[in-house]
Symmetry: C2
Subunit: 215 residues, 2 copies
């Protein structure tokens, strides 16, 4: 889930009417996004202050407000950066044509586990963290977080459809429901892996999920 240094400059969305920024400022924005992802995947939104991000990024306060209207705007831009990083990760897994479709999904879970292990299972999923904190977040996060999860699900449903076309999944399976079920459970497994500080919850969830599909 969490090999969290997306190189997001190239895909930074252009804001209408914003003057062209020089490379140095763009580097500043990248540092802020990077520090934000590190802190928020580890501790969530509420417990991290803007000052902590500034300190970690080594960036003065004025620069933050050059790029972001406020903490909520920053949070939403973090969601976008995380989603770009994450969709690339999913696409990489699902495009492995040398693997069967179900093995591609398995490969994603192993890749995500390696990402979490790299940070000693301290960092969870930004989307899961923010979802859990919904009661303390500005309302604008809700629709965006749902949208992001639905994007991940749609790609997973496509992978499961390929498994169905191959005969690895029965024709009566509802791939959209299975994709939702996978993501619902996977977010729970990431939470539990963070809680237990180890890979077992991810592995055990994955094993049972595929065992149940195989029946």
């Amino acid at each position: 889930m969490i090999d969290l240094y997306p190189n997001d400059e190239a895909s930074t969305p252009k804001k209408r009417g914003r003057p062209k920024i020089d490379p140095d400022q763009s580097e500043t924005r990248r540092k802020l996004i990077r520090a934000g992802l590190v802190h928020l995947t580890e501790k969530g939104y509420s417990s991290v202050g803007v000052d902590e991000i500034l300190h970690a990024a080594g960036v003065p306060k004025g620069s933050f407000y050059h790029y972001f209207a406020n903490k909520a705007d920053f949070g939403l831009q973090l969601v976008d950066a995380y989603n770009r990083f994450f969709l690339a990760k999913l696409d990489k897994a699902f495009e492995q044509r040398d693997l069967s479709p179900l093995d591609r999904l398995r490969a994603f879970t192993r890749d995500a586990e390696a990402g979490m292990a790299h940070y000693d299972f301290r960092r969870g999923c930004l989307v899961g963290n923010l979802g859990q904190e919904m009661g303390a977040l500005p309302e604008g996060f809700r629709a965006r977080l749902i949208e992001v999860l639905e994007e991940w699900q749609a790609r997973t449903a496509d992978c499961l459809s390929e498994a169905q076309a191959d005969g690895a999944l029965g024709p009566d399976r509802n791939v959209e429901e299975l994709a939702l079920f996978f993501w619902t459970g996977w977010e729970g497994a990431v939470l539990r892996a963070k809680l237990e500080k180890g890979p077992e919850p991810l592995r055990r969830f994955t094993t049972t999920f595929f065992d149940l599909l195989a029946e």
Copy 2:
């Protein structure tokens, strides 16, 4: 999950050497626990300050420190209160001898959904909330939260064993793994229901879970 007014006076653990408290003080503690459960299931640990709890409970600061050493101690006592409430809820569901074992687990999910609906899906599971925030919590929470989840799982595994004895679940099923799988996914479903502010994630998770078991 969340019909959150446990009447926990009766089972308040006695502290060694603490002088007997008068009924009024006990009522004060109960108000603090109640306010804590409301606020932490809704917003998590990090974003809720002790002052907010005091204000909601209508209790002066000194009383808080009479009962709790600090916010972390309060948080751990909230976990205990929540666990007592939750085990009672599970026992109630699993002791319905007029239902089949799998229908008892289904009954729990409906009861939990009704609990969330009662608070408009604003309140999640205290244990899930705290697990997600693990990076921002004192280390002492980790072992306790894992222990609580394992208690819920053990009761669920017993229920699944009864389903196995009845023949509703095949003899080759690993009920411990299925109970872990259920709770991992259920915590994810509660998170998603809170995010979507509606019952669909709980219902769709439950339906797919039992469909997969039935195969």
